[in-house]
Symmetry: C2
Subunit: 215 residues, 2 copies
């Protein structure tokens, strides 16, 4: 099957927003509280941030656990990496994830502003310009034959969808409406012309999983 | 969470049989045709036996793909390994899977009859007696800190359930009735006293996935 480009466990509101307005250091998802969109994943036993050794298994956990399975690199947007905008004024900011980022692979951060690569534990961050196809080419070359995860945010996923580069998407739709922010879609039905989809409600998680794959 | 004992993508009939009667070299599942129970998995892009490079993604594929994720050893019954019964008259039989078995880990075959271990590609088969707890102990020690998959058949899973050693089970229930064979349960509801369960219908696969985890 070659190396797929996969969106894994991306969460959006009922009106299609992946994050709210007003991102800041204190509020990585802007005006939306993270559990509103991501509570289903936080509750899972396999959530990478868990330290309590408990959590729910079942449907949601299978999807969360797949996050890193067969993945050799990630592509993310500048705003997933950092609340800052414009040129990198200092290089002290190393992402939201502390000394042990949950990626464990090369990560390609899309930005117009150059910055040297750096490594934290087993994750190396590279800062790359260029269009989605060029970035994907670099990520595939670094992925050791494995798939590439497209980590978001919504506007980056949108760019790769518009360039028809995405092979599979798992998007969890929460019932809450945000009204504003960074938007993935107006409706999941927009993708049905190009993708097959399984629509799987999670009663415990309070979300509806949309599992898309290219026709 | 320690090392879990996981049943992965095990398929049974509506009346709870994992295989029919009359297993033989020609009919590993006895009187039932394998696609009757396993068709949902055979259709998946991640099915290990695929050679055509195509297949369905979506819900069923996430579950099939999890087969080897985080798994460091398998335990299986004698009848999953071989259609023969009683002492090993020759050691020519090396399982149903050819030179490249899909396990890629140590496999512990439960049998009362001793036989030397052997290796095919990156899978080593060991033949072990003893009760389920003793076999699990050996498998965990060989799993390099990873989980252990309980590969079936139904009677072996039943033994481990009765010994309360199973942590998670994914069982796909197909709508067909077999009437006879090797039985896992009369009804999935039998496990509800000890397990939580998510019940997830797969319209495309024509089965209902039961995802159990220990309370």
């Amino acid at each position: 099957m070659g190396q797929l480009l996969r969106v894994q466990s991306f969460s959006v509101s009922a009106d299609g927003y992946g994050a709210g307005e007003g991102q800041s250091l204190e509020r990585p998802f802007g005006h939306v509280d993270p559990p509103t969109l991501h509570g289903w994943a936080f509750a899972s036993a396999s959530w990478p941030g868990r330290t309590d050794g408990v959590g729910r298994r079942g449907l949601d956990d299978y999807l969360v656990r797949d996050f890193d399975h067969g993945i050799g690199a990630e592509i993310m947007g500048r705003n997933k990496f950092s609340p800052h905008r414009g040129p990198w004024n200092d290089h002290e900011w190393q992402g939201w994830w502390g000394d042990e980022p949950p990626f464990h692979t090369p990560v390609f951060v899309m930005t117009h502003h150059p910055r040297p690569s750096f490594t934290l534990s087993d994750t190396t961050f590279h800062f790359v310009g260029g269009d989605p196809a060029a970035v994907l080419e670099q990520a595939r070359a670094a992925a050791g034959g494995l798939d590439v995860r497209l980590g978001g945010g919504a506007s980056v996923i949108r760019q790769f969808l518009d360039a028809d580069l995405v092979d599979t998407l798992h998007v969890a739709v929460s019932p809450v409406e945000l009204g504003a922010g960074t938007r993935l879609w107006t409706s999941p039905d927009e993708l049905r012309d190009r993708f097959e989809v399984d629509v799987v409600p999670s009663e415990r998680g309070g979300v509806v999983h949309h599992l898309f794959w290219r026709k």
